[in-house]
C-alpha cells in the first residue's frame, strides 16, 4: 500500500465551556480573537514532548540536518533556514500580519 495519505484540516471556533480533543502527534494552532484562557489535561503524559513547527525555541524543523532539509523541501537548505529564521518569537507570536513589529 503505497497510497500517499491525505492531510485533513479540522477547524473550530472556540467558545467558553467547549471541549476539544487533540490527539497525540497532531499539529495544532490556537488563535485568540480576544484574551483567551484555556485549560489542558494531557493523558499519557509521562515523557511527553511538545514539538514546535515554527519559532526559534523547540522547533523540530530547524533541528533537521541541512542535507536532509535539502532533500525534504523543494527549496534549498539555505532557503529553508532563512525562512525558519523569519519567526523570531517562540511559542507565542503576533497573529496580525498588518501590524509588523520591529
Amino acid at each position: 500500500q503505497e497510497r500517499s495519505q491525505q492531510v485533513q484540516r479540522y477547524r473550530a471556533r472556540l467558545s467558553p465551556g467547549d471541549v476539544y480533543v487533540i490527539p497525540a502527534g497532531h499539529p495544532i494552532v490556537v488563535k485568540a480573537s480576544s484574551d483567551l484562557s484555556l485549560l489542558g489535561f494531557g493523558i499519557n503524559a509521562e515523557n511527553n514532548q511538545r514539538n514546535f513547527l515554527a519559532g526559534e525555541e523547540d522547533n523540530v524543523i530547524s533541528q533537521i540536518e541541512r542535507p536532509v532539509k535539502e532533500v525534504a523541501f523543494p527549496g534549498s537548505a539555505q532557503d529553508v533556514e532563512s525562512l525558519l529564521k523569519n519567526q523570531r518569537q517562540s511559542y507565542f507570536a503576533n497573529a496580525q500580519p498588518q501590524q509588523r513589529e520591529r
Binding site: Q5, Q6, V7, Q8, R9, Y10, R11, A12, R13, L14, S15, P16, G17, D18, V19, Y20, V21, I22, P23, A24, G25, H26, P27, I28, V29, V30, K31, A32, S33, D35, L36, S37, L38, L39, G40, F41, G42, I43, N44, A45, E46, N47, N48, Q49, R50, N51, F52, L53, E57, D58, Q87, Q89, S90, Y91, F92, A93, N94, A95, Q96, Q99
Partner: protein, 87 residues
C-alpha cells in the same frame, strides 16, 4: 512539590512566556499525584490578536477546555479510511 495536597498551576514560573501569552504546566515528573494518573495539567493564556505557534505533543492526547475568551483552533490530521472510501 512532593506533597499530596492541592497545588496551584500558577504558583510556579510559566514554561513558556512572552508578551503574547503564557503557558503554565505541571507534569507527572514534578508531581506524584499526577504521576499516579499519568496526566499533565496546563493553563494557557493567549493575548488578543496573538497565536500559539503550530506544535504537536509527542505522546500525550490533550483534552482542551475553553475557559474564557474567543478564538479559533486548527488541527491537522489524516483523512480516515472511511472518509477516503466515501470519495
Amino acid at each position: 512539590s512532593s506533597e499530596s495536597g492541592p497545588f496551584n498551576l500558577r504558583n510556579r514560573n510559566p514554561l513558556y512566556s512572552n508578551k503574547f501569552g503564557k503557558f503554565f504546566e505541571i507534569t507527572p515528573e514534578k508531581n506524584p499525584q499526577l504521576q499516579d494518573l499519568d496526566i499533565f495539567v496546563s493553563s494557557v493564556e493567549i493575548n488578543e490578536g496573538a497565536l500559539i505557534l503550530p506544535h504537536y505533543n509527542s505522546r500525550s492526547t490533550v483534552v482542551l477546555v475553553m475557559n474564557e475568551g474567543k478564538g479559533h483552533l486548527e488541527l491537522v490530521g489524516h483523512k480516515s479510511e472511511q472518509q477516503e472510501q466515501r470519495e
